[in-house]
């Protein structure tokens, strides 16, 4: 064909399990590819034939309608056939092992499996036991790579770059896969990362990842370009990690007076769904500084980019 194919090594990768082991070049390729993908979402006809004949299945062992829908739409916009295994009604409830469930799905012939699981490492386990490509849509308290990619895309779209930016991540860092993937991704691009949260929700060893730990929200936010606010899980209160939602809000809810400490034109991200008045004040959630709604669109774009990059190429050429 008459066009030059600037080739990449991306689809030599069988799976995307986390950002920990993804190169800067790969991340940049995904983010760059997401730009034209985002254009497609804005068109009258939101469909390109690229992945015609490819099958994608989503399996979510934890409820997350929005992430699942985002993946499904991404697949559909690229003309892939998508379907979803509804876990609550599936044989998972009948005690079928994960390996058996995945084998069954594999025999139905899809090319790509998008999986969310409450247990860390479950997608890694699945990836080792299937010929399908596996995308981790969140595993336990480990990683949520596509969320971090869409966060990075949103940041880059607003700030024009990633390098040198100061980013604060606020909330339950200990249990947050969003925080972890963001830390791995942003650190690769030379961001200065701070986290803020109750000491009971700060995991050990963050300093070795180049992350500055603040217990106080104001300390974390001073001069930052980006604040990424995490959703607080109410059930953490039962395990004694904080005394009450009220006290959590008092100490860690992002309010305008905090944001005034940040750099000019700082933006606020949130993976959603937001708890207004708990981790983020309504003033901020509804302000121009919040890019929370754009993040949703960007999520579809980034997932389209990922599906395109991963599903091209013949299967027999995929490095095992």
């Amino acid at each position: 064909m008459g066009i030059s194919a600037q080739s990449t090594q991306f689809n030599r990768r069988k799976d995307l399990l986390g950002l920990k082991d993804v190169s800067n070049e790969e991340i940049e390729l995904i983010l760059n590819t997401a730009i034209p993908m985002k254009d497609i979402i804005g068109r009258e006809i939101k469909k390109v034939p690229t992945l015609r004949g490819k099958g994608m299945i989503t399996v979510f062992y934890e409820n997350s309608t929005r992430t699942r829908t985002s993946f499904e739409l991404a697949g559909k916009y690229l003309s892939a056939d998508t379907s979803n295994l509804a876990v609550s009604t599936s044989s998972v409830q009948k005690g079928e092992t994960l390996r058996d469930t995945i084998k069954t799905l594999e025999m139905m012939g899809p090319d790509i499996l998008v999986m969310r699981h409450g247990m860390t490492g479950a997608p890694h386990y699945v990836a080792q036991n299937t010929s399908m490509r596996v995308i981790n849509a969140g595993d336990g308290t480990n990683e949520h790579p596509t969320q971090a990619l869409l966060d990075m895309f949103s940041i880059r779209e607003h700030k024009g770059r990633l390098a040198g930016l100061k980013v604060a991540i606020v909330g339950d860092i200990l249990h947050s896969r969003v925080a972890r993937s963001n830390i791995y991704g942003l650190a690769k691009f030379g961001c200065e990362i701070r986290v803020a949260g109750p000491p009971t929700m700060i995991p050990p060893g963050l300093d070795h990842l180049g992350v500055k730990v603040c217990f106080n929200l104001k300390d974390a936010i001073r001069d930052v370009d980006v604040v990424n606010v995490l959703r607080i899980q109410r059930e953490r209160q039962q395990t004694g990690l904080f005394p009450s939602l009220e006290e959590y809000s008092e100490l860690y809810m992002l309010r305008p007076e905090h944001l005034s400490l940040a750099a000019d034109n700082a933006i606020v991200l949130h993976p959603g769904p937001i708890n207004r008045g708990v981790e983020i004040s309504t003033d901020i959630a509804d302000s121009d500084t919040a890019v929370i709604n754009e993040q949703v669109t960007n999520g579809v774009a980034v997932r389209m980019a990922l599906l395109f990059l991963m599903m091209g190429g013949r299967r027999d050429e995929i490095a095992a």
């Binding site: 064909m1 008459g2 066009i3 030059s4 194919a5 600037q6 080739s7 990449t8 090594q9 991306f10 689809n11 030599r12 390729l29 760059n32 590819t33 730009i35 034209p36 993908m37 254009d39 497609i40 068109r43 009258e44 006809i45 469909k47 390109v48 034939p49 690229t50 690229l78 980019a305 395109f308 990059l309 091209g312 190429g313 013949r314 050429e317």
Partner: protein
């Protein structure tokens, strides 16, 4: 294997003459430039589309809208490629519905790129008609596609490569036939 220049078939002047003639033909075929837009196929169709628009403007005094189409997502060989090509943006910032679109590419060969371009274009809207302008027609069509405007017909063998250089991308304007040498 690498490519070696065999012979040059166009230089800057002959390219300019060919494009000027095509511009005239486009105006003539469309009885003016009313409702005409020029859309180039990335990469080298893009600069050629802008040049055609410049030439049309210099002849008619009216500049047709110009756009650039990225057809990567419409290619029919994606699953056969070892690695995915980089996707770029399609930049057609006007509504193509009802317009006469002149699709521009540097070389027509099998016709598959043009097929992808037609699909990509139709996903953007419903043009009144689509015409095809190419700088070089080297034959060996695999689809029933025929250009409306041709700069130069160049009989080639399948072993040869037609290389179009444009100054916007490559620094100078020329067309050469290359052959593979071990």
């Amino acid at each position: 294997m690498k490519l070696r220049d065999k012979n040059q078939i166009m230089d800057e002047m002959s390219m300019k003459r060919a494009l000027t003639r095509i511009a005239h033909e486009i105006i003539e075929a469309n009885k003016g430039v009313q409702g005409v837009a020029v859309v180039g196929i990335r990469r080298r169709g893009g600069p050629l589309a802008f040049r055609l628009a410049d030439l049309i403007e210099s002849i008619e005094g009216v500049r047709p809208p110009v756009g650039v189409l990225d057809i990567t997502l419409y290619r029919d060989d994606l699953t056969a490629l070892a690695n995915q090509p980089q996707v770029h943006r399609t930049e057609v910032h006007f509504d193509i519905t009802g317009m006469s679109i002149v699709l521009v590419d540097d070389v027509i060969y099998t016709g598959r790129t043009v097929r992808a371009g037609l699909d990509a274009l139709i996903d953007l809207g419903r043009p009144k008609r689509i015409q095809l302008a190419v700088l070089i027609d080297r034959g060996h069509r695999e689809l029933p596609i025929k250009p409306d405007f041709v700069g130069k017909n160049v009989p080639t063998s399948r072993e040869e490569v037609v290389s179009v250089c444009v100054r916007e991308i490559d620094g100078d304007d020329k067309v050469t036939i290359q052959e593979l040498v071990p």
